[in-house]
């Protein structure tokens, strides 16, 4: 799977050619990552650490644009996103779930439920 001439071995996976995000196949701190799946010759330069299973933006995504994965919209950007940014709860909101922004992006813990 690896061994391309540029020596980049860290990988992420783009499911559909229409996708503007890819899923990390391993934890990566920063730096170049090979995009497997659709459009598999591309490299993306990570601007921040992104964990296995999390998503990286493959293009610049202005605020209010659709985030597309599997070829379908999975949410809307809530800030301006740059290529190589981590895409998650802090910059992407569901189009149906109103609680969507009420969770911590790292732990996933709900921030909108009172415990006192």
């Amino acid at each position: 799977m690896t061994g391309q001439s540029d020596g980049v071995e860290k990988r992420c996976f783009r499911v559909s050619a229409a996708d503007n995000v890819a899923t990390m196949l391993e934890d990566v701190a920063t730096g170049p990552v090979r995009v497997c799946g659709e459009a598999s010759s591309d490299l993306i330069w990570l601007r921040e650490p992104i964990a296995l299973g999390h998503k990286v933006a493959l293009t610049a995504i202005p605020k209010g644009e659709l985030i597309v994965k599997y070829g379908v919209p999975i949410g809307v950007s809530t800030t301006s996103i740059q290529a190589g940014d981590w895409v998650h709860l802090h910059n992407c909101h569901s189009r149906v779930d109103e609680r969507s922004s009420g969770f911590d992006p790292r732990s996933g813990a709900a921030k909108d439920t009172a415990y006192a």
């Binding site: 296995l52 994965k69 919209p73 149906v96 779930d97 911590d104 996933g108």
Partner: protein, 401 residues
Amino acid sequence: MPELTWQGYLRKDGRKGIRNLILIVYTVECASFVAHGIGQSEDDVHVIGFPGCYDNAYAIRMMIALITHPNVGACLAVGLGCEYTQPAKLAEAATASGRPADWFYIQQEGGTRLGVSRGKSALQSLREQMAKDSMRVPMSWADLTVGAECGGSDGTSGLSGNPVVGRFFDHLVDKGGTAVFEEVVEMIGLQDVLHSRAANEAVAKELDETYRKAEAYCKAVRQYSVSPGNFAGGLTTIEEKSMGAFAKSGSRAIQGVLRVSQQAPAPGLWLLDSVPDDHFMQFGYTNPNDTEGIMDLISVGAQIVLFVTGRGSVIGSPVAPLIKVTGNSTTFERMREDMDFNAGKVLSGEMTLDQSALNLLALVGEVASGVPSKPEALGHREYFLMYKHQETPSLAAGCHA
């Protein structure tokens, strides 16, 4: 390659099981301690029941569906003595299906110790009758119903775990078997995708209605089927989780929608709808936890259930063995004793989706042949049943036999 066959258990109602279990059923929470006491240190005895004192049509249908499940050969119903649900009626349903059964009230037996001892002697005679009645028959894929559900999903579930199960489902359906997937509330955002998979126009209409009910339900309760663990694992929205979850349905045409406790009227791929129907009390939560979904799949007759979990899970199930699949190699390594199958090799490039699906097929064949799955061997029997309302045809309506 010759088709795999194994020795199963033929029930008098014509159903074929891959295990030969006695099911103890408690009819109220107050009877659950004694029920578990009876089952303690007994091989091939599982315990299920209903905690509520007031009876509920949905729960009673579920208990009868489990009592008459193909993997179950006999039933012992245990009541306290003042609840609405009647253990005698449950035993009667078992007897009517050709399964030996017994029942008693703990109040009449004289309490905890006497109740447990009455139950233990009932088990002894049920075992003797089962041994006398036992009929072993060859079984093959066409006799098998397999359910699939995912829980503890992460960003790998939609890329490896669920697609491998989907490919396995394609094989099972092509071999004449029955495949059931569920979690309609994890199809939010996918109405068109779901519609396009219908076997015919009538089914498409049924799928549309099922989808609309689920969407309205989620809106009404302000809760979508996405959890803190999903977020931590990289899933951002319910729409993203939905696409990943739907991958476990594979690619074959959907034959129709089943309700909880209803058997598939024909082989092929079926969608199970566990979302509560409208009711003046609006009671019943859909997917309150993973175990409920697994019990729903078992209630439609699944002899084996596949559970896809990216983050890892330590649950099992009574009545039908649970096979735990993960698409995350790190999870597989960390929780080796609990995970049955690593689909993560697809992501690392060590294996294609097709190879992985064939390996899963081989594993399901082994478990069907009698090899215990990991949660089964560890003794996991998690179980959950709560009040819910669903308008469902009578149990007899959907019977294979």
